[in-house]
């Protein structure tokens, strides 16, 4: 078996976290090897669905049912999955995993360079101490080893580079960031906002804070409002590894990238207390190779990073690397999703909107805030994402009966205004919500398949009831008619905010990572993707992974130079 030792650091994964790790490490002068299991995707050149005209999309944009059912059974449920984006996603048939049928887990994965940074929802919200202190205050999970003040400067650092548009609100529980000018709300959204803020004193509605530039900056363009970001954006208006972190890392001359390189596991050197090698399988040839480096950053995504650690067994770590606590694989969290309400806002048919805004509105958490009376039914809280727009011909053609000249004429104008609010709810950490390696089944590389055992609990279900009720109430109050609440009975994975399984903590006996994302027991190993999370908040998590990654790199490199690693 070959070994190579000529890298200062190895980064596993090229998505949101891996891209940041590579950028920061290379900019600090380290020679970095980035390993990505998927195929290469070039910025611009490989965005084959970008700006595709409706008439060029196969089958009018309808799903290829047989193919999706057989090969993309999980990924095809993603809102951003269709023929213009399919090449970015995982083939589920080739990459199987297992779960108990009664407790399905939707593992939604990219399978290309850039990972899910190409197709993510781009919503970015800072955490606050309401989140970092939540476990300590209500006793679910263990306390975070960090507080908002530890991460705040790193939020600022990454936000400036990411290019975040949004509105400052001055809310302590949803801290403001480094914002470019916010995208606009439309006429009806402003009307709903006014109603909510007049009738519900502690509630706010704002435009989504998103990783889409409204100003040309950072060698990237501003949004041109074509709409479907997930097809790729060759002007780089939204943040992806391809548009942002990878070019920065490549510019240093310190980055080596290997795609179609699957990490099987890590080798451990007990004498040094360090990772001594990263075992890689060439996805095309099956050839195996081990790479060595001074630092290893696992950024393969929540589930994949923990899969690698669980599959890294040695005399020292019989249950997986850095797993003396037994916490590895446990406390798997997501957000509840798909609960809310919609309704028709009658009138104002002379008002319309121009442009396809790839963003919606946001109603920050308003439940169980400090100083409020606390809900008797559930702990923690949720936020809404939503919007209002005129119904289009696709929707209206199903409502308008008949055919012929009058039918055609009726579709010339858009339908009525429709408004929608959907909640994302916090998921309490629970040791029985977990992933593990299956005892029997392996994948095409011989790596044990992931087995999930995770379900939402009583708190999430009780919260979802309030999510629906309050959405209905706010829409009705704003004047909506035909208001209809909906509950999708989402299961973990649906929100694509999966996190936990290698949590941070102060106590090595109950956590995997310390307050610097460094493994308690393996000093050159850092895990900075969603697996590090100790609780889940209710806001979209990606910007927090970015800030934690940049912070961890800063610490790791200082420790390396000081001779402590």
């Amino acid at each position: 078996m070959n070994t190579e030792t000529d890298f200062d650091a190895i980064v596993v994964g090229s998505g949101i976290s891996g891209g940041w790790a590579a950028k920061e490490l290379t900019e600090k002068g380290l020679k970095v090897l980035m390993l990505e299991r998927g195929a290469p995707i070039r910025h611009g050149a490989d965005y084959k669905g970008e700006h595709m005209a409706p008439w060029d999309i196969p089958f009018g944009g309808k799903p290829l049912r047989e193919l999706y059912k057989n090969e993309y059974a999980i990924q095809s449920k993603i809102y951003a999955f269709d023929e213009t984006t399919r090449h970015f996603f995982n083939n589920d048939k080739e990459n199987p995993y297992v779960y108990n049928e009664e407790k399905p887990f939707q593992w939604k994965r990219g399978d290309v360079l850039g990972g899910r940074s190409l197709t993510w929802g781009r919503q970015v919200y800072r955490w606050s101490d309401l989140d970092f202190e939540a476990n300590k205050n209500d006793g679910h999970g263990i306390d975070w080893p960090i507080r908002y003040k530890d991460i705040a400067p790193w939020y600022s650092y990454v936000e400036k580079f990411v290019g975040v548009s949004g509105e400052a609100l001055g809310l302590p529980h949803l801290p403001d960031g480094e914002f470019q000018p916010p995208m606009a709300m439309n006429f009806m959204e402003r009307k709903i906002k006014k109603s909510i803020e007049e009738n519900f004193p502690e509630r706010h509605m704002t435009i989504g804070r998103c990783a889409i530039q409204t100003e040309a900056k950072n060698n990237r363009g501003a949004c041109h409002y074509c709409g479907p970001c997930a097809r790729g954006c060759s002007v780089g208006a939204y943040f992806s590894s391809q548009s942002s972190t990878l070019p920065a890392a490549e510019k240093t001359g310190n980055l080596t990238t290997l795609t179609q390189s699957v990490v099987e596991g890590l080798d451990y050197d007990p004498a040094q207390g360090k990772v001594s090698g990263v075992r890689v399988i060439d996805a095309q040839t099956g050839a195996k190779k081990t790479y060595r480096a001074k630092l290893v950053f696992l950024c393969a995504s929540t589930v994949a990073s923990t899969q690698i650690l669980l599959n890294s067994k040695s005399e020292s770590f019989r249950n997986g690397m850095a797993n003396r606590s037994g916490a590895l694989g446990r406390y798997l969290m997501d957000h509840t999703d798909g609960n809310g309400a919609y309704g028709i806002m009658t009138g104002d048919l002379d008002k319309y909107h121009k442009g396809n805004r790839p963003n919606g509105v946001y109603i920050p958490r308003f439940r169980n805030l400090p100083g409020q009376s606390q809900s008797p039914n559930f702990l923690r809280g949720y936020g809404y994402q939503g919007g209002s727009m005129r119904m289009d011909w696709k929707q209206m053609s199903q409502q308008v009966p008949g055919f012929g000249v009058r039918f055609k004429q009726s579709l010339r104008a858009p339908g009525p205004w429709i408004a929608y609010l959907g909640g994302f709810g916090e998921h309490l950490p629970d040791q029985n919500s977990r992933m593990m390696l299956d005892d029997n089944q392996v994948d095409r590389f011989g790596i044990p398949q992931v087995r999930f055992d995770s379900a939402f609990g009583k708190n999430e279900k009780a919260m979802a009831v309030d999510v629906v009720e309050q959405a209905e109430l706010m829409l009705k109050t704003a004047g909506a008619t035909m208001v209809k609440g909906f509950t999708s009975n989402s299961t973990p994975g649906d929100a694509i905010h999966e996190m936990g399984t290698a949590r941070m903590g102060n106590d090595p006996s109950e956590s995997v990572l310390n307050g610097w994302n460094q493994a308690h027991d393996v000093k050159n190993l850092f895990v900075t993707d969603g697996s590090c999370m100790t609780s889940s908040s209710c806001v979209n998590p990606s910007i927090t992974y970015m800030a934690l990654t940049a912070r961890a790199v800063d610490y790791a490199v200082k420790q390396l130079h000081a001779g402590n690693i």
Partner: protein, 203 residues
């Protein structure tokens, strides 16, 4: 959030930096780009479909379904995208039109007058009243219920031909740019008065 931004249907839909050109003079029967992979239509079925799409979206002061190449789109969808069950319902529906016309007008559908053909299609539309959808076509699993859900394979012939005609027409270059309005590079998101453009956006 555009994620669940809801209404994948409404908001995003298909952007595009088309070679937004003059209306391509796409004639019925002319291959509008994508060939039928597994041709199964008889000449008669093709002709019937063509007539039906034009009844559903006729030429007015703007092009109609035939001008937009919709008959070819319908043939592609039925031949290459439909399931066997959907095809069976579709072809049975075409047959039923002939049966209805024979019973009522003593002529086959294509031999009927324009009024009689419309009457036959109106009759077909009545079939959908008692139909109970197998899915509501909306509730996407794990998403907001406004997102498109599983296809309703069992829906009657009328729903099928209408859906395909509408989809083919409004996603065609002619339908998207001449009947509706298409702006692949809006450069802004802003309020406008509907009267400023007088049509809805096609995407």
């Amino acid at each position: 959030m555009d994620r669940r931004t809801l209404l994948k249907n409404t908001a995003m839909v298909l952007g595009g930096l088309a070679s937004a050109s003059v209306a391509r003079a796409v004639l019925a029967g002319v291959d509008s780009g994508v060939a039928v992979k597994t041709p199964i239509f008889t000449a008669l079925q093709r002709e019937k479909c063509s007539v039906l799409t034009e009844i559903i979206i006729p030429r007015t002061d703007t092009p109609g379904a035939i001008d937009a190449g919709v008959p070819h789109f319908v043939e592609v969808m039925v031949s290459d995208w439909y399931t066997d069950r959907e095809r069976q319902i579709f072809f049975a529906g075409l047959e039923a039109l002939d049966q209805y016309c024979t019973d009522n007008f003593e002529k086959r559908f294509l031999e009927c007058s324009a009024e009689q053909r419309i009457n036959a299609l109106e009759q077909a539309e009545k079939d959908i009243k008692d139909y109970k959808p197998e899915t509501d076509g909306m509730a996407g699993e794990g998403e907001g219920s406004l997102l498109p859900g599983p296809e309703d394979e069992g829906k009657p012939f009328f729903s099928k031909i209408k859906e395909l005609t509408v989809l083919g027409y409004y996603t065609s270059e002619v339908g998207a740019t001449e009947e509706l309005r298409y702006d692949p590079m809006p450069m802004e998101y802003t309020d406008i008065e509907f009267s400023e453009i007088g049509r809805q956006w096609s995407s």
